[in-house]
């Protein structure tokens, strides 16, 4: 691992004291749920129950849990395509999320989006996006809307936009940072630095590998913390969100982690060195957090195993739910495209006549 990629700022071990055992146990339960869900998703993909692209949060569990612990239900969340775990933490439900992967009518968006496009308007979970960087301008626009409608303050809404390390090289990121900085928008840009964009290491994709510094051309402050500890991540996110809410100061938060598996479920990641893969495995946040909690007596092995079993049960039920759910109605397809119906809508299946006149 390149030196530039070593976490700075708060380290995991530090912050634990003062945390209630209940909270810590809760975080662990959530991390395990994400882990179990993702492993099952990849199994279901292998069984052809899931199609298209499927990007997993394996290695990102502590970050997912910590960020979502900091984000209020009234805040807005925009994501990339690596979005399953976030959707679970935002309460979209293991069943509906799995059903979306299965492309079923009971999926979070009725089977229209699949893995990359988890969305729930009520829960202010504004979607996973597949175009790299595509979510960043709309996320910035959500912050614009908050500004448009309401005053800054501790209880003000804010936006969190999740993006990957490789995504910091696309123009939309920079235009958005400039607008957010210029207009003082309440948004936190979270960079999940898993050190790789597909097969490309950060050092080979950016001229400034300290990604938390990439706001410096826009006077946007940034911090980098270890993404392997949910408490550290949560606290960093809380501080960033506070700045956004109260000062209307956009902030960059970089979280350091590893991608445990390939870019997507179909990528064997042969391009990764043995050392790199071993280093990633050695830093697996789930066993690490488990051991930490066991050492600090928050959990004993039995309780920890019970947590795994509980998660497995939830995932089993999610799979059953998805499997037994109906396919979306083909007849409804055109209804999803436009919100306002007007004359001469092009609702036509392949091979239908183009002109139909009385």
């Amino acid at each position: 691992m390149a030196d530039t990629q070593r976490p700075t700022g708060a380290k995991g071990s530090a912050k634990q004291k003062g945390e209630s055992a209940k909270a810590l146990r809760g975080y662990y339960e959530q991390m395990v749920l994400v882990r179990e869900f993702e492993l099952r998703a990849s199994e279901m993909y292998a069984r052809a129950k899931v199609g298209g692209y499927c990007h997993l949060n394996l290695g990102e569990e502590a970050t997912v849990v910590g960020l979502m612990a900091a984000l209020k239900a009234t805040d807005y969340l925009f994501m990339g395509y690596r979005d399953h775990g976030y959707a679970l933490m935002r309460g979209l439900g293991a069943g509906p999320v799995m059903a979306e992967l299965f492309g079923k009518a009971t999926g979070v968006v009725g089977g229209y989006g699949g893995s990359m496009h988890m969305f729930d308007l009520e829960r202010r979970t504004m979607g996973g996006y597949g175009i790299v960087g595509g979510q960043i301008p709309p996320a910035t626009g959500a912050a614009f809307a908050i500004n448009y409608r309401s005053k800054a303050g501790k209880s003000a809404d804010a936006v969190m936009c999740i993006l990957g390390d490789g995504t910091t090289n696309i123009g939309a990121f920079h235009e958005s940072l400039n607008l957010a900085g210029l207009w003082k928008l309440p948004i936190v840009y979270v960079i999940t630095n898993n050190r790789l964009g597909m097969g490309t290491p950060v050092e080979l994709s950016t001229a400034e590998p300290d990604l938390y510094k990439r706001g410096s051309s826009y006077r946007i402050p940034g911090t980098r913390v270890d993404g392997h500890d949910p408490v550290v991540v949560r606290d960093a996110a809380l501080a960033a969100l506070e700045q956004a809410r109260v000062e209307r100061q956009p902030v960059i938060l970089e979280l350091m982690m590893y991608r445990l598996k390939g870019h997507s479920v179909v990528d064997p990641a042969r391009y990764r060195s043995k050392e790199d893969t071993e280093e990633a495995q050695a830093n697996d946040p789930v066993p690490a957090f488990r051991n930490k909690l066991v050492k600090s007596k928050v959990l004993d092995e039995k309780a920890a195993d019970a947590i795994h079993d509980a998660a497995e049960k939830i995932v089993n039920e999610a799979v059953e739910f998805a499997d037994s759910s109906p396919d979306p109605e083909i007849s409804e397809m055109f209804k999803r495209v436009y919100a306002t119906q007007v004359p001469n809508m092009p609702d036509r299946f392949p091979g239908d006549p183009v002109v139909v006149m009385s």
Binding site: V109, P137, P138, A142, L179, L182, V342
Partner: protein, 334 residues
């Protein structure tokens, strides 16, 4: 009724909608302090302030995406992209996001955004500043595309576009802004998705849209004096496309010519011609001809620009050729 220019019709409609709905705001480059490159937004910053009339940096992709995100939260942005040529920089946000967000998220959210942008050549602005790319947007599901040809339609369709819950590309044209016409007073909410018969006729149908309609009407008038009755169909809406109005007209006249400002191959006229071929096949007396721009990046020099752009003389020639091809005898129709 009040006579006003296309520019005034747009300006007054924007003012009325800003007054009507707090959620409506304008965003784009130079629309405030500068009052708009083409002065469409003149006076609006002074009247509504910087919250409702937002000047942006030169960041088409960024501010178009900002408008999209704000629309997902319920605001109703009217974006001005200075000319359609610059929309290429924002096109990923328009086509991969605004147009797809609703379907991709299962119909749970809508993106009520209007993108106003002028196209058109003829001002010697050269290759990168003279394009008509509306056909690209007209091809995209999830978008609606309107292209009014006169001040009254500009008012009615802009009002409809702002109140529509879907993303609407509102096509203007540099050559239309000073066009005068009578505009009905008071609130006018037009219908997106329907064409209009701009002039009734019996001998041949000319189909056009936006600035092309102005030329088509001039030419129709000249033919009227020669005893040829030309019907002019103004598409108004490119997406959805009102195929029935087009085909009904051609079934009546049995001849059709398309007059379009854009380029010929894969242009708007191709779809119109294909539509007529499918919907009026048994009625056609002659091949459907297209009068469109020469397929070159538009040169700067006036003689070259003029040669490359379709004009009244070109349309007249092709109408005559089409009449001849169908052995049209003027007197039969007198």
């Amino acid at each position: 009724m009040t006579e006003m220019t296309y520019r005034q019709a747009l300006n007054e409609t924007l003012r009325a909608e800003l007054k009507r709905d707090e959620n409506v705001y304008l965003i784009g480059e130079e629309i405030g302090v500068f009052e708009g490159s083409y002065k469409i937004t003149a006076g609006l910053l002074k009247e509504f302030g910087p919250k409702r009339v937002v000047d942006t940096p030169i960041s088409e992709e960024g501010f178009t995406g900002v408008a999209i995100g704000s629309a997902m939260l319920g605001l109703r942005p009217v974006v001005e992209i200075m000319t359609i040529n610059f929309s290429l920089i924002a096109i990923d946000q328009i086509v991969n996001h605004a147009a797809k967000i609703r379907t991709m998220f299962g119909g749970e959210v809508s993106v009520p955004i209007v993108i106003r942008t002028p196209g058109g050549g003829g001002q010697q602005l050269a290759a990168t500043h003279s394009q008509n790319l509306e056909v690209w947007y007209a091809h995209i599901p999830g978008l609606k595309v309107v292209a009014p040809s006169n001040p009254a339609d500009a008012k009615a369709l802009l009002t409809a576009a702002i109140r529509d819950d879907d993303p609407v590309l509102f096509l203007e044209n540099l050559g239309l802004y000073n066009l005068k016409g009578d505009v009905p007073d008071g609130e006018q909410v037009g219908e997106i998705g329907t064409a209009a018969i701009a002039k009734e006729g019996t001998d041949i149908t000319v189909v056009s849209y936006s600035r092309g309609v102005v030329t088509a009407l001039e030419v129709a008038k000249e033919f009227a004096e020669k005893g040829v009755s030309v019907e002019v169909v103004d598409l108004r809406s490119l997406r959805p496309l009102d195929r029935n109005t087009i085909c009904e007209s051609v079934r009546k006249t049995s001849r059709a010519v398309i007059f379009e400002d854009d380029l010929l191959s894969y242009g708007i006229g191709a779809e119109i011609s294909a539509t007529i071929g499918e919907g009026a096949f048994d009625w056609l007396d002659a091949p459907v001809r297209r009068v469109a721009g020469a397929e070159v990046p538009l040169p700067y020099a006036k003689p070259l620009e003029r040669a490359a752009m379709p004009d009244a003389a070109d349309l007249t020639k092709v109408i005559n050729e089409t009449l001849a091809a169908s052995a049209f005898k003027g007197d039969q129709n007198v």
